[in-house]
């Protein structure tokens, strides 16, 4: 499967200020790739480099094999973009702005109508009179009104209410089902967890982790709380991937990483009154990665 988006050693300095440093990743065709990081980590800089708005200080980025800087218009013919705070022309009505941007993408007039109805946006209202959330809807409509094979989205759900966020996730799922590729920058962790196949985590301008959502969750510790009929014998939970956090009489708190079967076999040999296994959500993992020192992920692990 071909790579739709590729970044190699991608670096951007704004004078002496750090943008991103030596970022490597690739997004395969039909994949939904989440790009996670807090404000200022370098998400928007990365997207602007992919859009050819910024010239890389070092490294290279390509979309469909087209250099993002020197062949930007050709690359733009195959992508749709929405930003975190999409600009608007207050003097225009929503439908007029969508028609203008549609015309630049070669779309027929009114191509936005199905999306506008789905997202319950009134296209006849002047944009300056719309709420922040409704303006954000214009950006989402604009991204999904065409059929470009790549969607580049920079925090597209900021300002959307929970119902619209759910609708957005449905749109992303439909895009994936249609074979489109999605690059989704976000700091909304549950959104990324639900929408994405793989996740890249950027910290202080460096990509610190790239893995599938499943790997990201599976490679981390799960919390196991047991209530036994009787206190366990010493050494009951001596397993290589198990850490005993606390044993208080009949109550046991363990942490397990990776394969849970050996632990389950030990638990099955005991008289158990209650058990609770908690999977860490992506937010826990994200915070754990952010509490560790920043180390760039090796290039071969990003593809």
């Amino acid at each position: 499967m071909m790579n739709v988006v590729e970044a190699e050693g991608l670096t951007k300095w704004y004078g002496r200020r750090r943008g991103i440093l030596d970022v490597d990743f690739a997004v395969a065709e039909g994949e939904v790739f989440g790009f996670l990081g807090p404000n200022g980590a370098g998400k928007t800089t990365t997207i602007r480099l992919l859009l050819g708005f910024l010239r890389p200080s070092a490294g290279h980025a390509a979309v469909f094999g087209l250099d993002c800087w020197s062949a930007a218009p050709a690359a733009h013919g195959r992508l749709a973009y929405v930003g975190s705070e999409p600009g608007y022309l207050g003097e225009l009505r929503a439908g007029e702005q969508l028609d203008y941007l549609g015309a630049l993408r070669g779309l027929p007039r009114g191509a936005w109508r199905p999306m506008v109805e789905r997202l319950e946006l009134d296209p006849t209202v002047h944009i300056r009179k719309l709420s922040h959330g409704n303006r954000q809807k214009i950006g989402v409509v604009q991204a999904f009104m065409g059929h470009e094979p790549l969607l580049l989205m920079d925090e597209p759900t900021s300002g959307l209410d929970p119902l619209m966020q759910r609708e957005f996730l449905a749109l992303v799922a439909e895009a994936r089902a249609a074979g489109r590729t999605v690059f989704l920058s976000s700091h909304n962790l549950p959104e990324v967890e639900r929408a994405c196949d793989r996740v890249g985590i950027i910290r202080e301008g460096r990509l610190v982790n790239v893995s599938t959502v499943g790997q990201l969750l599976g490679e981390h510790w799960r919390s196991v709380n047991l209530v036994l009929e009787a206190p366990p014998a010493p050494g009951t939970f001596d397993l290589s991937n198990v850490e005993v956090v606390a044993i208080t009489g009949r109550e046991v708190h363990l942490m397990v990483r990776g394969d849970v079967n050996p632990l389950l076999a030990r638990i099955a040999s005991l008289a158990v009154r209650d058990v609770a296994i908690t999977t860490p959500d992506i937010e826990d993992i994200f915070l754990r990665l952010y509490s560790a020192p920043a180390t760039a992920v090796p290039a071969e692990a990003t593809r």
Binding site: F53, H76, L89, Y100, L101, L104
Partner: protein, 266 residues
Amino acid sequence: MSAAFRLEMRRSRSLVLWLAVIALAYGGMLSVFYPVFRDNSKLVDQYLSLFPKEFLAAFGMEGSLSDPGVFFSTYIGGMLWPIVAAVAGIGMATRPTASDLERGFLELPLATPLSRVRYLASAVAGQVAGMAILAAATVAGVVFAGRLVGAPFDVGGFALAGIVAWAFGCAVAAVTTLVAVVTLSRGLAAGVATGTLLAMYLMNALARIQPDLAWLGDLSAFRYFQATPTIDEGRFPWGDFSIFGLVAVTAWALSLWAFRRRDLAA
């Protein structure tokens, strides 16, 4: 006609319309008053002789106000048109680049197959068209009102003066476009354009007042925007027109070159 150009014209509509109404009304009003100056030339000259020559020179009054060339050069060429050209030029030149970047809109059209060069070229075409509309409105106001009050001006002379005024306005817009592209700051570009025009106006006035500072006049755009012989004699100032044209084309070309190559970040 491209979508980008259509939008540019749509966005300039209010600005150009209101400035055209002002130019039309002001030009018409001066035409209506002109016969009073023409029929009372001695009284007017006597009145103006009370003022210091430096004062008159500062406002560009060189000659008798009963002469249509001097009259309209003073009140339109030296006052109304520079203001109209500055307001329109700054408005239309800063909006598609610096202003749209600051409001976050620029990235939307530029994330489509539209190239940066075509995007800015559409905006430049809008500036050219907007300035032409304003110059035509100014000339139309003078000529039509003149007909109404029995002061039949030479349409050809005023039309040629209008063409030079258009070239002057294009030069203002082009240089402002270049500053806006380089700085990507609407405030800075507008400030530089306004300050430069004011400085040039003062330099031109100083050059007229102080013969030993005459060289300052050569550095001023107003030195090359003298409509009197064009209106009176129908003589087209090819040299002055070429200077404005050269400045405009060079500044726009540099703007396109710089806009293609620079980072776009607010």
